[in-house]
Symmetry: C2
Subunit: 288 residues, 2 copies
């Protein structure tokens, strides 16, 4: 696969803005996210302070952003990036079984609102996974549990259901899941992940469920988990006014950089991140 | 006049965004600028990277912003602020002969692209003025010269023409001025301001013109001139990620804070400045 110049992770207002500006600067980009854009945007009832889109419903804002990307010829690559590794003069983005190479990376993945479940971090990589596409093969013919924080995760459960013998699905959101009948939907709030006798246990407020593997699926992952070595402040990435992070070549924008969690703030930062990333790529080119 | 909570100076994307968010936060605001919004925006041919407004002409963006302010019930106060003075627990904004009081101020006045003319700064307040409304009475029945950097200054020349015996107008822009016949339009580039024998001289590339007073009218004034005591970096105001300047209660957004000079960057910063200003005003209220 051809190495892109700038990989942009996330399709909220920050990522969209970064993509538009990077494209305007004639950079070869890859925009990774969802054609459903951002669950936070899509769910917003009415946004009153986004300049240019008065009293806009979140769903309409998402549609406007998607249409604008289409008109600019920017595709959304619907892959979930599990990790970003600094490789010297480029970055390797792990997306399922695939590795994507990019000279610069813009993190626009939003903020993790929920704290990790007790046991989640301890068991990560040892029966707990954030990526169905990556780790489903490990559970072929076995039982998996899915703790999902938004309806956009349902397609992951559909995929697991094709591979695993049994899928137990815990929707941590209000909407009614649309899933194959063979997926067991448990309407109980997951509160802890534990293990015993070589199996994982999802504990809910009402019971305990055994599984070989547990998938915890959120729109955003903690930035320090996503990019090893990145300097963070709590759930946020440390950035300066140029949207540079502590790692040269890695930029960030939007909710991941801290409060206020506002659409136009994210869009403004995406613009700055893209301009800084483009300048970084240009400098690489000159030093070659 | 009632003291407002937040005065916002400038009606480009930064000022508009700040006004929308401050209004959303239920603050009593005054938005000072022009119903023509920003000359920079209005002149933009096509903007391709403003999320939500694909391939938008500058004039259409300005109209969209104006309509949105109207729908939110936000008025534009068409006054030019000449100076902002810190008065302890509030600020006094000099607008012509009027003083406006505000608890917090957001500077969104854009960036001064042009360097001052030779002689301009030396003679400021001694025959050179930036504000026709303020200083026209000094030149009743006399001769004034107007060095104007955008067509929106023409109304100032119209006003001077009512008061002064003679007005010489130097358009420093391409458009054809629309002015009363009695205003003398000189299509020569002003290059220096000097004085001799108690009169001012506007030197152009082609000649010299005598006047009692010279008005230099630009959309933006240098931030250090606008707000005495403000920490600046060249033509820019120093801000942190909260859009706080060196003066508590003074915030800034948009081109005035530095590059990149981009519409959505300005809008994003306006949002952050408004949220920071609202929090500042809330703290004042609590400490009363």
């Amino acid at each position: 696969m051809e190495r892109v110049e700038i990989a942009i992770i996330g399709t909220g207002p920050g990522g969209v803005s970064a993509a538009l500006t990077a494209c305007n600067r004639n950079k070869r980009i890859m925009l990774l996210g969802s054609r459903e854009m951002s669950a936070k945007v899509a769910k917003a009832h009415e946004i009153r302070n986004y300049p240019g889109l008065p009293f806009v419903r979140g769903a309409d804002m998402a549609a406007a952003f998607r249409d604008q990307l289409d008109r600019m010829g920017i595709e959304i690559t619907e892959k979930r990036v599990g990790a970003v590794y600094a490789m010297g003069d480029y970055f390797a983005l792990q997306a399922g079984e695939e590795m994507i190479e990019a000279e610069a990376v813009i993190l626009a993945t939003g903020v993790v609102q929920a704290k990790p479940l007790p046991g989640e971090e301890e068991l990560l990589g040892r029966g707990v996974s954030y990526c169905a596409t990556c780790d489903a093969p490990l559970y072929r013919g076995k039982t998996t549990a899915v703790i999902a924080y938004s309806p956009s995760e349902e397609k992951e459960a559909v995929f697991l259901n094709e591979v695993c013998a049994r899928v137990i699905y815990f929707p941590m959101y209000k909407e009614e899941p649309t899933l194959p009948e063979s997926v067991e939907i448990i309407r109980e709030k997951a509160v802890e992940i534990a293990q015993a006798d070589g199996r994982r246990i999802v504990k809910t407020e009402d019971g305990e469920y055994f599984a070989d593997g547990v998938f915890v699926l959120r729109e955003a992952v903690a930035p320090g988990q996503l990019v090893p070595g990145l300097e963070t402040e709590g759930q946020h990435v440390k950035v300066n006014r140029k949207m540079e992070t502590s790692l040269p070549g890695v930029f960030a924008c939007g909710d991941i950089t801290g409060t206020p969690y506002q659409y136009v703030k994210a869009a403004g930062e995406g613009n700055v991140a893209a301009i800084s990333a483009a300048a970084y790529v240009d400098r690489l080119r000159r030093s070659e």
